[in-house]
């Protein structure tokens, strides 16, 4: 923690960066994002295992970008997001500076995307155990049971789009859900509309999701929508051996192909 504060202070004092996006203490002893712009503000910065929010979501926010060069205190999810966003040409190396802390408390300062790639390649990118087990459990269910499971959950969805807003990869200028010519997705927060929305959201994140879980954390109705993305993460990993957010220069899974992609269902 001290090393982060020290480095953040230096960066702000030397005007190397204009703002440090990091974690601070929120209401009721929770953790929340803070935006430090003055050297003395660095004392508010914290970093520990409770700092789970994927702060990369703020990198594309206009009012934050306008402040000037950014420094982000990035957890693994955020680092992977940065690589994925870079591969999609949304952020550029010179625009930001990444700090992180290893599990044994060592401060990391990344000089570029290549540096992040190297670090990420050594990190655990597996899905959380709880979710992995839940996916396995769902896969073992019958189709009808799975359908019931999701209908029960999706019936609660109020289409607040917190899942979309919290996702750092959902940066589209205009979400497909906003189209009404044609009305791709039933507007209303009805079961069908919610179902269609989740299919769209997951498909759009296929091969791009870095399994940060922000979507489910943001959901005010506690719908485990991250399972959908995680399932797709597994599919992509299994079929194409690709994990999103590991390389700043590769084509996305859905915009590339191998002429011998394997499947067993096409007649």
């Amino acid at each position: 923690m001290d090393s982060i504060r020290k480095r953040a202070r230096e960066l702000l004092e030397k005007n190397t960066v204009k703002v440090v996006i990091g974690y601070g203490v929120g209401s009721d002893n929770t953790v929340r994002a803070i935006f430090v712009r003055r050297p003395e503000g660095v004392e508010e910065l914290i970093f520990d295992e409770t700092c789970v929010q994927n702060l990369a979501v703020y990198l594309l926010k206009n009012e934050i970008k306008q402040i000037g060069k950014l420094c982000i205190i990035a957890n693994i999810s955020a680092l992977r997001t940065i690589l994925q966003l870079a591969s999609e040409h949304q952020i550029h190396e010179e625009e930001l500076l990444c700090l992180s802390v290893t599990p044994n408390g060592e401060l990391l300062e990344f000089t570029g995307f290549k540096d992040i790639e190297n670090y990420i390649s050594s990190c655990n990118r597996d899905l959380p155990d709880k979710e992995s087990e839940m996916i396995k459990k769902l896969e073992k269910m019958s189709v009808d049971e799975r359908w019931q499971f999701w209908m029960n959950h999706l019936s609660r969805c109020i289409k607040c789009y917190a899942c979309r807003s919290a996702c750092p990869m959902c940066y589209c200028t205009r979400c497909q859900v906003e189209y009404n010519q044609p009305q791709w997705i039933t507007v209303e927060a009805t079961l069908m509309g919610n179902f269609e929305w989740q299919i769209t959201r997951t498909m759009h994140l296929a091969g791009r999701c870095v399994n940060c879980g922000e979507c489910a954390r943001a959901c005010p109705e506690d719908i485990p929508i991250n399972l959908l993305n995680y399932k797709t993460v597994l599919t992509v990993k299994e079929k194409y051996n690709i994990s999103a957010g590991t390389n700043a220069n590769i084509d996305s899974v859905m915009s590339s192909f191998e002429s011998d992609d394997k499947e067993n269902f096409i007649r």
């Binding site: 209401s27 109020i158 289409k159 807003s165 507007v187 943001a218 109705e221």
Partner: protein, 341 residues
């Protein structure tokens, strides 16, 4: 009408819910499912949970559903037939277990839906809904009703207000004619009220800020940096508006399969960037700070000025639901600090 006090035994509530259902009324009460408490249809009282401060979502859905078909169209060759919503199809409903803040919220919604334009669907729904609230005997860190002039034992907006006297008994305050109708219909369930001091039975929610420091003083700070400062963290989702008991913004969409069509009204949020996007491409509220400012101003400036009612009831739902900790109470206190600088 003068408020009439009665006694309602906890044991009678089972019968009340049953009878209300038998009477053809749809009864909604807080139900705990997957650890979230929300209003849901109940056929028996025991389905209702007692373990809640407020529900996650507000009760506004009964009068302002998250989706509502407000008009139907039928296309035939060279002709379109329009059919207004059949108001008689709206069912009688009873809301049981709303909090005084929820009930107060309906007043705000009414000021919106019965403002310049009278929205008959809303009016009918509200007319057909009986609100049986339960006073708060508990609160949490996100509650700030008393700071916005709502009382945990307040009757405003309720038809009947129940206040827990002890384990087995409620004080039932019959606030409106609609409430009285219920009592008259099921009079065997109600007894004569004992003499109790209601104030001692409800939670003592501390006043956290001085409302008068805000009211009438925000607008001059329209261009202040504080809006940017406060909203940097906001990710622009619609959660706060969707859980809010007083947010009445909606979107209207026409859907059709070429033969039949519906005009549907669904919840919307001023927090979305598309909310104010013009067809020209211009967006007057093109940044999150402007949209955050709108949210605060709507509740604390525009509604009070236009309708003489405060747009926030201090239920704290927005702060509880927010995934990035946009704590409204904290922001209001912080705003007062800025205003008094």
């Amino acid at each position: 009408m003068n408020i009439e006090n009665k006694l309602l035994k906890l044991s009678s509530l089972e019968g009340l819910v049953l009878k209300l259902n038998q009477d053809g009324k749809q009864v909604f009460a807080p139900v705990k499912k997957d650890n979230i408490v929300n209003f849901a249809p109940v056929s028996a009282f025991h389905e209702m949970t007692q373990d809640y401060i407020v529900t996650a979502r507000s009760a506004k859905f009964v009068v302002f559903p998250r989706v509502e078909t407000i008009l139907e169209m039928q296309f035939s060759k060279d002709n379109i037939t329009l059919k207004d919503k059949d108001l008689s199809s709206i069912p009688d409903a009873v809301l049981l277990g709303t909090r005084p803040c929820d009930a107060a919220g309906f007043k705000v919604l009414t000021s919106i839906f019965e403002g310049d334009y009278i929205d008959n669907i809303y009016v009918t729904r509200l007319k057909k809904t009986t609100i049986i609230s339960i006073s708060c005997n508990n609160y949490d860190a996100k509650c700030f009703c008393t700071s916005v002039n709502v009382h945990p034992g307040g009757t405003a907006g309720s038809d009947i207000l129940l206040t827990r006297i002890d384990n087995d008994n409620f004080l039932a305050e019959i606030v409106t004619e609609k409430g009285k109708e219920i009592v008259n219909k099921f009079d065997t369930l109600f007894d004569i009220a004992p003499d109790v001091n209601k104030d001692s039975l409800v939670a003592n929610v501390p006043v956290e800020f001085d409302l008068s420091a805000i009211l009438g003083k925000i607008y001059p700070r329209f261009e202040s940096d504080i809006w940017v400062e406060q909203s940097l963290r906001c990710i622009g989702c619609g959660t706060c508006a969707y859980v809010c008991p007083t947010c009445g913004c909606f979107d209207i969409q026409d859907v059709s399969d070429g033969h039949n069509g519906q005009r549907k009204r669904s919840w919307d949020s001023c927090g979305f960037d598309l909310f104010t996007l013009h067809s020209s491409g211009h967006n007057p509220r093109n940044t999150q700070s402007k949209r955050w400012r709108q949210r605060i101003l709507h509740k604390f400036v525009y509604v009070p000025e236009q309708d003489n009612i405060l747009g926030c009831v201090g239920c704290g739902r927005c702060s509880r639901a927010c995934s990035v900790d946009m704590n409204l109470k904290e922001h209001l206190i912080n705003l007062i600090g800025e205003l008094t600088k």
